[in-house]
Symmetry: D3
Subunit: 309 residues, 6 copies
């Protein structure tokens, strides 16, 4: 957090992530935060194209010191805001190409890219960029939905398909990956089964409430090996905590549970993150984007404490 | 869930409950969902007349398969949307007559009617219709308030009086009935006592937080016998989970607890349900109506698994 | 307006357009209203996918008699609600094909189709369906923007391109067509010029405020010949009157001016209409969707008075 | 406006109307403002029961001096806030009795009562109270609707029936009365005709836009004779100016026109006023209640300048 | 709760706290509730100047009997609403003087003053008034932030500085005081340490979730001695429960936990309370102000049961 | 407008004003836009501290070409976003010093500074900075209020006092200055007179509606001489057009009138502008901030066409 930003207060200044410098070319920095304002692949409520902007605004309330983890992430790491990827609202495939190209470019310049969505379809091109840099990664996927449909509305890509394609394209090491929080009505009995057939481990929402945060983290640390990528769909939280999202599902996690889950990833080799599906038109009091900003902050804190490539 | 509805996505199509067929005459179906858009008997915030419409809209997000219960309710059961009961905003007694007449008619055509309120005054005429079909029922009543006042504002009927009259008119078997979740300030010390004098069992909000969901369900299964009717006032949930209601009370249940409570009714002979007091003008992000739609979905899932008459 | 609907009041019942029957196959009716819940081609605020549903809800407030025009449109004409076109959020071209196919099918069954958008990209496939039925039409286009860009974000189709393609594809008779209301900042000096190069007549927003409604209507009646199609983008209204839209522009028309403009089309041979760009997440008090519903109602009233094919 | 209120600023203090004293017994004052928080007779959107509270809150922004009329109404007149009439939400007839009784009591204590609704059904018992004090009055009725239906939903009283009964009960001198602003779809061709059959003069919304404010006022001064009562339904304004109302109609008046219309009543013998149908749950930025508070302020200013009994 | 207020229902009447009498001079009463509508010292979102009004409105939903504590606070105690302190928005020091003067005056008339904020800067002048009456007090401070900065933006007073100055000025007995709930990012590592250096005990947010309500209350009863003052910043609650506040922090308490915490103060000698940082423009469905009103109600109930000076 | 910004669409990218470069040191540019996020001097609704951010966000919808004026302001002029002035919420005088210092610094680097408020108190230090650069200026003041009180709440500075002090301090040449749009209740009969006593010309709101835009502009051009400064309080617009403001007044200007008024300043020597009192928490659909962004855009267009120093 720059001195200038602290001087201005969270209501002032140009809203970059955490008040960090806006540098389209982040060469030399440790972490680049990049927005992906795309929401055309969502199958229910659109609006996530405004997610990056809202998270940036909410992130003005972040401050220097993470007392729970005893670290000052913005002091330890040079974090920059690389701006947004140019997207094409009406064309998902052209958008994916631009995302992969831009993020691959960023990954040549910095060690870790944190992407702010956007709907969940953006995770596929983000993982394609990761593969170009590092090969397959272990996926830690927090979400109310498995997002392993093979297609949506009869077409190849939607916001419910990224992890089908990620497995099929070899972007992730499914056996070292885990999905957490799936709940609510699904289209068909095999929707959750399909994830397991692709090799992913899973802690469903029902299982989460039995295991608790600690038990779930134990499962994560059993499963995840090697470079790990966190994909966090804000709808893993209950609608009371994250109303501003496209496909809310009741019975979800609390903000306290989510913060604790992310902190519990300490010790893994974290190589990237996306925080998706914040849809500001359905938010109120900015509580969803504030939660999102804090979860990114916790992730950065882990990086600052050494859980990075 | 019809193939057409799935094809359209939750943002498309005519908003019937769950995308099911609109059939004013539901003869031959298993379950009829009917709206009761009446809110004039509410004593605080009006708006529940838009409850049926909002729940129908939110129900577009429901999908075919309930993975927690491993059942496809809309496949097992023929569920139809019978539309709304015609009400008379300014006249509660004329409205009650129309509700009883219409629902009695529906109960001659289908096995189970699920009513979407509207304020809680509608439960009295709904129970009158049940009695015409089945005689007295055991009541499972989830609510922040007992609704056993004998009158309101000096007049016979209000949204706080249905279960006084239901007991007095012999519509319910109070000794086999249970009220859950009562909390918050009341008018007088005897407000909760009155319920017990009428014969109802009760787990107050305070007791619920000590017993937990499991302990509460144990009490339900001890008490409830014979045909059981679920009356669920959405204000049993905490305002964080259900802001869109007429008489919110702090310190209420979470969405996870409510879903688990309803699922825990498995094994009872469920003959009817109403879901009342969703007041959309005070909702945001549709979280209250989404919770309501899901609770109805869980109830239908129980019916589909055999917990029905 | 059916007797049933009137009995229920505007707060009750299944929300079809104007409370008319939902008939996916409208054969034999005079007019079919169809929703096109597509918003992925919008270049600013998404949300118009909920336009059809919101307009249907607002249309419950319409009633039988148009006193200004002395006609009862729902009595004179059989109007049905044909439901929504299935769209594919992430794919604009697949969506266009489905729109054209479905509307062409409807146009084989009824004389006039009124489409509720959705963003303005849907007008292109709607006009393609019109051509299949009738050949080129004269376009009356009310909008804050000309929508005659040849491409957007480097791709062929967006919500700003329909009338470039419509002219190039010969769907409209540009010389008999008029655009009204264009104002606000544009990308480049030739944005308005391009419309004129394509042959369209234009009354810009600035000109409208000088000509007034009467002067503008005189221009319409000078220009428009033959079968005429009305494409009404709600952002032609000022944001005070229509905040719920994707690309609002200040300095627009009032609701009174818009109602009077539509009424002033009496005498033309009106063969179709679309009402697009209602984006409910940005509306409040439903004022935008109510305005939209009323403008459709005025159009239906003109048809009922004889201004139809 | 008391010194204390000015000292506190509009954000501070107990929200009585205009910061005036709360005196349930207003004996000796010139004007009593009374709230009538009843909304069960509304046929579309409920919420007007919160009208009195919202108007009181908005009225904190009123200040001492009306520069357009060069008068300080709260200095010239002793205005008190008499609180609210107790109503019975579920019973319209019991409510009417309480309104008439309470307002008749107030009219024995003060010269003029200004009532804040509440839905328009409250005007009937208000006029009954006026008759007890003064005999029939001339009615100046600003509204989007005539409210001269003989019944609603098959029952005697609704918010659309007050002026049928007022005429039939001899509460108003219809020949000396005028209705202004009626527009939008109605149930049947005779809806406006019925007003004229009852003897009321009318300037419809269409006529208003041709006559203008001045022409309309000329008609008012031609028609109105004797003690005059102003009934102002806020939906006479366009939804852009008054979104917070129960039955909005597009194409209505601007705030400037309304303020000018009320000021133009100078010279009449004004004996009472009601301001009804402010429904705060549908308002935003308090613009509807602020408009309402200002219209009452203009009315009080007329009284202060001598236009009173 | 007066009989009149109960007769009116929570939607009616002049909104004093709990419907109690407005008495600027509360001599002879037991408790005076006073509003402090000041928000200029807030460092993030302004709006708390409307806190007193919103809490008063929400308090209309309170009723006579606290069943959990078996007491009728408004019957046992004479509680009056003393109105608001006059503040000067642009001048924090002038405002502080007015607050101390007014509250000292009230404390000469009644035993206990409950202040409704306003931002947290108001607690300093409130504690100065307490000292004038009673000498130093033990502080029970519920908040997401320690508010022990020595200055903000380079100036002496802000909403983050009250308890630095309170300790330095000897207004509180820090060794008998406890702060509960601190969490979220802070400016620097010593932010929490500073509280401890000033002598305050602390249960951070992290510690709270480990100790639970019971464990935390045990700490309170170990620490607190003598006359105790409760300062409750509503942001101690999670944003899901209290979105309407100026500096929300994720991972906070639930409404149930907060109610139980306040009830657990039974047995202490409670001499005053403030409830601060309710910012209504960011609230929805009034859930934050309703929670605030209930927490004051629980505090009054403790007083009524004897936990008072 | 940079190519990058156009590529991203208005939903993407870091929200600087108009997508222009953020340069805290604007040396060499033509115009610097600077935010002044201060709202503690407002006497009614706070929230304007978020005005600069909201206007920047809305300004993403601006585009390159102003067709009405046939100019591309961002091509002709180098406009930069200089970020925000650091303010001290609780201290108005310290804030004023920082504003004057920062803007004086900017005025040494660029020809024209456009300031985005913030409440109207910021105009005083802005004019002090102007005087340091140019000596007294002619003021063109659009507002619902005269803002010529000598003090507020008994203290020197408030948002209603800037133009008293500006006249007294010799910052403006009152005889060459004009105030436009004053209306609504004021504290006392001499409130408008005081402006005239200070030497300002005035066109009240009432006079504006008689003169019209053209007549008003004629008055402006008669009065204004020499370097001219535009201070535009968004509450000059009607609440229907600008609900998001602190002290709304009914009966105000339309967006069309305001745009035309600003364009009508062509030919003057415009040396600076402020756009104040946009209070986003009370806005909806961003219509107020969009209007504000457009009015700044029109001003920049005038500069680009030569109306500058």
């Amino acid at each position: 957090m720059s001195g200038q930003q602290r001087e201005l207060g969270p209501f002032g200044g140009i809203a970059t992530f955490g008040g960090q410098l806006h540098r389209p070319d982040p060469a030399g920095a440790d972490v680049a935060v990049v927005g992906v304002p795309y929401d055309s692949a969502t199958t229910f409520r659109s609006g996530a194209r405004f997610g990056p902007r809202a998270i940036r605004v909410a992130s003005q309330a972040l401050r220097s010191y993470n007392s729970a983890l005893d670290v000052q992430p913005f002091e330890v790491l040079e974090v920059v805001d690389a701006g947004d990827v140019p997207v094409v609202p009406a064309y998902v495939e052209a958008t994916q190409e631009r995302i992969t190209a831009r993020v691959a470019q960023l990954l040549r310049a910095v060690g870790v890219v944190v992407a702010l969505g956007g709907d969940h379809s953006v995770s596929l091109p983000l993982l394609r960029a990761q593969r170009l840099r590092r090969g397959p990664v272990a996926l830690i996927h927090l979400d109310a939905h498995p997002d392993t449909w093979s297609d949506e509305f009869g077409m190849r890509y939607g916001h419910g398909t990224p992890f089908w394609h990620a497995a099929k394209e070899g972007l992730v090491d499914a056996a070292a990956s885990i999905q957490i929080g799936m709940r609510g009505p699904t289209d068909a009995p095999d929707d959750l089964r399909r994830s397991r057939e692709l090799g992913y481990h899973m802690v469903t929402g029902e299982e989460f409430w039995e295991l608790g945060v600690e038990g779930t983290l134990a499962r994560v640390h059993q499963v995840v090996r090697g470079p790990a990528y966190l994909s966090l769909d804000i709808d893993v939280a209950d609608p009371a905590y994250a109303p501003g999202t496209g496909t809310p599902e009741v019975g979800g996690l609390t903000s306290r549970q989510l913060v604790t889950l992310v902190r519990g990833l300490a010790g893994l080799e974290l190589v990237g993150m996306d925080l998706v599906e914040v849809a500001p038109p359905f938010d109120h009091g900015e509580i969803t984007s504030l939660l999102a900003a804090n979860l990114v902050y916790e992730f950065l804190s882990l990086l600052a404490k050494g859980s990075r490539p």
